[in-house]
């Protein structure tokens, strides 16, 4: 069913939603990282916070200027669990270059302190990072129509005006267009996400037709 953008209704999903304590606050990676301990980590332990920081610095050393201008972002760092690497502590740093729409995955050998492998590709989209969730929400709030609707819904649900994207519970998923998508076909290569927005009363906005194109910095409204 085709729906005009103006008709989009922010239906509330589960108005009395009750869920557990969430870790939805955007911010630095590391809540799941191994606790810093005096002893060195065992080969199968998760990366420590220090290892994540160090791997990110090593992997992005040649990307700093792009990152400071927002043209590229270090999405996150994962432990490299290739069993053929044996007991070596290695980390995969995911870097996205929005200017060229390339994903770069750099594998850092933590003992050597250097990048030992690099894979690049276009049209490959790992899950959105916390930083990308915030960027997508800021684009949504900057949209004249959608931004106004989000603010109105937030005021109604929370009884206070929305100050910034940080006031919202955010979740983003990679958006992959279906074949022949006339609205979001560019998302085959562009970095596009679906955004889920949670209000202060625990309800979720119906944002299922909204796609945020982070490469083009545009809001797309799907037609179905």
């Amino acid at each position: 069913m085709r729906r005009a953008r103006i008709m989009m209704a922010f239906a509330v999903a589960g108005a009395t939603a009750v869920v557990g304590v969430l870790s939805l606050v955007p911010g630095e990676q590391g809540s799941q990282a191994a606790q810093s301990v005096a002893r060195p980590p065992s080969p199968g332990d998760p990366l420590t916070g220090d290892e994540i920081t160090r791997a990110g610095q090593i992997a992005s050393a040649t990307w700093r200027s792009h990152m400071t201008t927002g043209r590229a972002e270090l999405l996150y760092v994962e432990r490299d669990d290739d069993k053929e690497a044996g007991d070596r502590r290695r980390a995969d740093a995911y870097i996205y270059d929005y200017r060229t729409d390339r994903l770069v995955v750099r594998t850092v050998d933590l003992a050597k302190g250097e990048v030992v492998e690099e894979r690049t590709g276009r049209g490959v989209h790992p899950p959105p990072s916390r930083g990308e969730e915030t960027a997508a929400a800021e684009l949504l709030l900057a949209d004249p129509e959608y931004g106004e609707r989000v603010r109105a819904a937030h005021l109604k649900a929370g009884g206070r005006p929305l100050v910034s994207a940080a006031d919202l519970g955010l979740r983003a998923l990679t958006f992959t267009p279906r074949p022949g998508d006339k609205v979001a076909g560019a998302c085959e290569t562009h970095r596009c996400v679906r955004l889920f927005v949670r209000l202060p009363d625990g309800s979720w906005l119906d944002t299922s037709r909204i796609v945020v194109d982070l490469s083009a910095k545009k809001i797309l409204t799907l037609e179905w």
Binding site: G20, P46, R171
Partner: protein
């Protein structure tokens, strides 16, 4: 191309029941399959390096009341969330054997019945883990707030009467490793149960809230008062990735078993050995096993774990979602193949149907299991929605030579 072997009923009896004598040995060799036939038989034991490679608090080491012991490591990965590695099983009074090098969720695909929207729910789910309260982990211990390690009664392990009014029985127990994730309006409960009988039960429960998407009567079910709001039906197609390494990565082979005959008095066993990457669909009485022909139990039968996936809704999506069109995939190990769809690594396939397309020879098989659940909302799903579960069973076949209790 598969190596297809159809065993006669006679061979079935001798080969798979381990009757004594020369015929039994021939049968056991037949059941061992083609791969690894030249390996010298090893007794069931842990391969070098198959001991958990992690330390506290990531190491789980639990001996259940019957004496069975499970050891493994957990990690909360950014993309896959709860991931278990280096899983070893020690039967009561037996030797330790490596079972899984790693296992994790590989996708939660959620297409709605009207055709849209269609979600791939695996985002950075490690960052969406819910901090568990003590009440969320009954009888267990919480690791780093997000993981619950506990034990749970499973009912009768067995019960047998001797005919004189005296019966003997035992109660089964599972080690359960569990985490919860908030993915949009849904809360997903992700758990693996490790039984004192050597079985593994991966499953996922969906709870939290319904999406609130409304649709026409053809695609939904009325919720709330009257029949004006139709909540949209949808599927949860959950994929697990399981890198079996039975006694190390060497010698593992995946076999499919079918039992032909319908409307007849006889059933005949048919075994298909997968020697190349492939996909398979469910069928009544069909099951698969990962067998290491080089590792034998005390009866000289090759050790294996059997996979049964008959509880799936068997969702089949459109052509651009070809990854939904099989219930089990077997790939050769590649570190970059992590998710069943929207795979995040450049230079690698994007989905599991692509991983198997080149039909590479299988030397270190990885099994991908797809279990679908079709959720048609009901009034009982009012907030907070009761949990609906989906999963499958992995049971030992000839790991021990006798009752594991």
């Amino acid at each position: 191309m598969f190596l297809r072997l159809t065993l006669s009923c006679a061979l079935l009896v001798t080969g798979l029941t381990g009757a004594a004598g020369a015929t039994a040995n021939a049968g056991a060799a037949g059941a061992a399959g083609a791969a690894g036939a030249t390996d010298p038989a090893r007794n069931a034991q842990a391969a070098p390096g198959s001991q958990p490679s992690c330390s506290s608090p990531y190491r789980i080491d639990k001996t259940l009341p019957n004496g069975a012991r499970w050891r493994l490591c957990w990690e909360m990965r950014t993309i896959e969330g709860l991931t278990l590695t280096d899983v070893t099983y020690t039967p009561k009074g037996g030797e330790t054997i490596g079972v899984l090098r790693s296992t994790a969720l590989a996708q939660i695909h959620v297409p709605y019945d009207s055709g849209e929207p269609r979600f791939h729910d695996i985002g950075t789910i490690g960052d969406d883990a819910i901090a568990l309260k003590a009440a969320d982990c009954p009888g267990g211990e919480r690791r780093n707030q997000f993981v619950c390690v506990t034990t749970r009664a499973r009912g009768h392990g067995y019960l047998k009467s001797d005919g004189e009014g005296v019966s003997k029985s035992v109660q089964g127990t599972d080690l359960v490793v569990f985490a919860a994730f908030q993915l949009g309006w849904y809360t997903y409960l992700v758990e693996w149960a490790f039984g004192d009988d050597g079985a593994i039960t991966p499953r996922i429960g969906a709870t939290g809230s319904l999406s609130g998407f409304t649709t026409t009567p053809a695609h939904g079910w009325p919720v709330g008062v009257g029949s004006t709001k139709f909540e949209e039906s949808h599927n949860h197609n959950v994929f697990w990735r399981l890198d079996f390494d039975i006694d190390g990565s060497r010698g593992d082979v995946v076999e499919q078993y079918d039992f032909t005959g319908s409307g007849t008095s006889k059933r005949k066993l048919s075994r298909t050995v997968f020697d190349e990457e492939t996909k398979a669909v469910n069928s009544r009485m069909r099951w698969w096993r990962v067998v290491d022909s080089g590792v034998r139990n005390a009866d000289r039968h090759p050790v294996s774990w059997e996979i049964n996936n008959l509880a799936s809704a068997e969702y089949r999506g459109p052509a651009d979602e070809a990854f939904t069109r099989a219930d089990l995939y077997v790939t050769d190990y590649r570190a970059c193949e992590r998710l069943a769809s929207t795979n995040p690594t450049p230079g690698c396939g994007k989905s599991v149907d692509r991983y198997v397309a080149d039909e590479d020879e299988l030397t270190d098989p990885v099994v991908w299991v797809n279990v679908g659940f079709h959720h048609v909302a009901r009034d009982e799903d009012a907030d907070p929605m009761p949990t609906h579960w989906q999963g499958f069973r992995i049971t030992p076949r000839d790991v021990t030579a006798k009752n594991p209790y």
